[in-house]
Symmetry: C2
Subunit: 395 residues, 2 copies
């Protein structure tokens, strides 16, 4: 067993806050063939693992998310990003389930990524721009080490939205017998040309910032904050629907700017002020090299790539039950992408439910107050739990 | 008459190319109240003005367009941006019509804008970032000076796509008796929160470039080329549909990159290379201050603004015949915006046709090979010409 190679730590990071971590000194071989000689995975758990270890749910976070799915992030002091969904008596009920959420490989909240110290060289320093190219598959392989550590034979469910949904799908394909059920939300089996294009413009905004310094900004004590803010602002537009933006802001002006004559450079419309806030807030919490690394992993994502472009073949060995969820106003990963997943799963005779939730909130709907989403997730979990019990009782 | 104040020039610009220009030494009072003490309008004409001056068509260009609608741009050496539409025996037939296309106020192809010399101060210099805030109404008012100079009592038609369509609509509202017919294509009666958001991110990319130098880059002999390229790349995504991007590029890789291990910073997908080309090409031909000025004018655009937000009231005095055209895959100015225009025009009993052209080419479809667009425009022009003749014969 790999247990011997693992140290569980409560690391005192810079911020004097405890971060729960698992250290895998054997490292991880990446899909590119390159080897990370040292791997740390930061994670959080909620609820209690049953004695038979049959109640574990892995929640996978999105591009800029973190492991604090239902508890306060000690750095940002913000409450958990899905605390409306995960907790006692909530749709993903911590009275019933043991929830695991780990920071993805390549990120910057404790798991090994570009902001981690490089331990494979004599010269001390961060990975920075030299952090290897990773894939969604690598993220999942890292998570699997964590699940192995917990000696969980089969996850009851893997749940994730957006890039988290990509990981959920990858779990079903990479480890078919390790996942009882999968809930991919607002996601896609591949990154489209438009998805790639938006990511690339964000990266170019970062690279254009003189403080990027070829990715070695950390050596100079600076961060490419302007470029990263522009990248975030642009991405944020893609997370919201046009209707949501119209409803929230319309063409309303910032009150402070009314009557001002400095129209060209100042903030004017509320939507602009909102984007500026999103941008400046983001640069305080997220690493630019992580942003580049993870957006690249998303761009690379195409489940059918190793199967001659045939998604049906990619799904040919899945054993999980699926509940695929999309939102009607999501234009980043529109419902048509979910339908393509469902169609391919149907072709292999998989057990699959599909729900398109009518919402005007756009891609971000999965993070927001959408009562229908709560009902679908709690209902699906209850249903498959009952099915599994019936099956176990019968056998 | 204002003729006495006008000098027609064939100005020898830096590039040793002749640019056709009209100089209005009386200047122009802007909607903001500020006065431009000196106004130059660069324009091109095609075809021959009839003796009764009843065959003039004004074509209004889009954000980054120019007056070279059907002839080679002497700076970029590119053929006219609508040369497939405007010319002898083409849908907008220069054998029949006298075509006028002028560079919009605030642009950088000869008409007064941020890149023009400022003549109202003792110190010599360019307008640059001090160029006043302008509106779509100001652009139209400048065009009207040109039309007055030609002593054209009534334009047979005003035609424009995107921001050109905004100008066409503004003409119908500002000068109802001066326009016989209006063809607004792929446009909107207002800029939405999402439209504003994309423009603002583009501007922030420009402002983030250290070579922006608070808009005074020209003083330092630099241009904010990286920021401007990012702005253009992002805008370019919004001009194309997801389907068009998938068809054109899909997930295909650049051949030169196959097998390369420099995946993080290099170009990889064809769509990325395409965007880089669009970005770097753009900065050679367009001025950053003009980009900021004109995107601001678009953001300000809301035809209903002076009418308590009531578009019907805005249209209450229109006298023109309208042919409103949208494209099914345009998500920047979707068909719903055209429908809203048509609905308001119907409410005031205006003569209005509406066509949604089924196309997967997105917003840019109006510039591309869309035979249906050719048929609609040539058919509408022929129809209203016949109507006018019948009316004139009857009276």
């Amino acid at each position: 067993m790999i247990n011997s190679e693992i140290k569980q730590v409560m690391a005192d990071e810079n911020q004097n806050e405890s971060i729960q971590k698992m250290i895998f000194s054997e490292g991880l071989v990446l899909e590119s063939g390159q080897k990370l000689s040292h791997l740390e995975i930061a994670y959080q758990t909620y609820g209690k693992l049953s004695t038979t270890k049959d109640n574990a749910i892995l929640i996978c976070h999105a591009l800029t998310g973190d492991q604090y799915v239902a508890s306060v992030n000690p750095l940002s002091k913000k409450s958990g990003w899905w605390s409306r969904m995960v907790g006692p008596d909530l749709p993903i009920d911590t009275n019933k389930y043991f929830i695991i959420c780990s920071n993805v490989l390549g990120s910057c909240m404790g798991t090994t990524g570009p902001r981690s110290m490089r331990l494979d060289q004599q010269t001390m320093g961060y990975w920075g721009v030299d952090f290897p190219t990773i894939t969604i598959g690598d993220m999942v392989n890292a998570q699997k080490l964590l699940i192995d550590h917990f000696q969980i034979n089969q996850l009851f469910a893997v749940i994730g939205g957006s890039m988290g949904g990509m990981q959920a799908l990858q779990w079903a394909v990479s480890y078919p017998d390790r996942v009882y059920a999968v809930i991919p939300i607002a996601t896609s089996s591949f990154h489209s040309a438009q998805n790639i294009a938006f990511n690339e413009v964000g990266r170019q905004a970062i690279f254009s910032d003189p403080d990027w310094r070829n990715g070695n900004y950390w050596r100079y004590g600076v961060i490419p904050s302007r470029g990263l803010a522009v990248a975030r602002m642009m991405a944020h537009i893609t997370y919201l629907s046009e209707d949501a933006l119209n409803r929230k802001f319309g063409r309303r002006l910032q009150e402070t700017m009314m009557g001002s004559s400095s129209l060209i450079l100042g903030e004017m419309f509320q939507v602009e002020s909102y984007l500026h806030y999103q941008g400046s807030n983001f640069v305080r919490r997220f690493d630019a090299n992580s942003y580049v690394t993870i957006t690249r992993a998303m761009d690379w994502f195409d489940l059918s790539q190793n199967y001659n472009g045939d998604l049906v073949k990619a799904f040919s060995h899945v054993q999980s039950r699926f509940c695929v969820i999309s939102f009607s106003s999501d234009w980043l990963f529109p419902t048509s992408r979910s339908r393509a997943i469902v169609k391919a799963l149907n072709r292999v005779g998989a057990n699959v439910s599909f729900v398109e939730i009518v919402s005007d909130k756009g891609h971000d709907a999965f993070l927001l107050d959408e009562p229908d989403l709560d009902l679908v997730i709690s209902g699906f979990l209850a249903g498959i739990k009952r099915q599994r019990q019936l099956k176990n009782n019968a056998s």
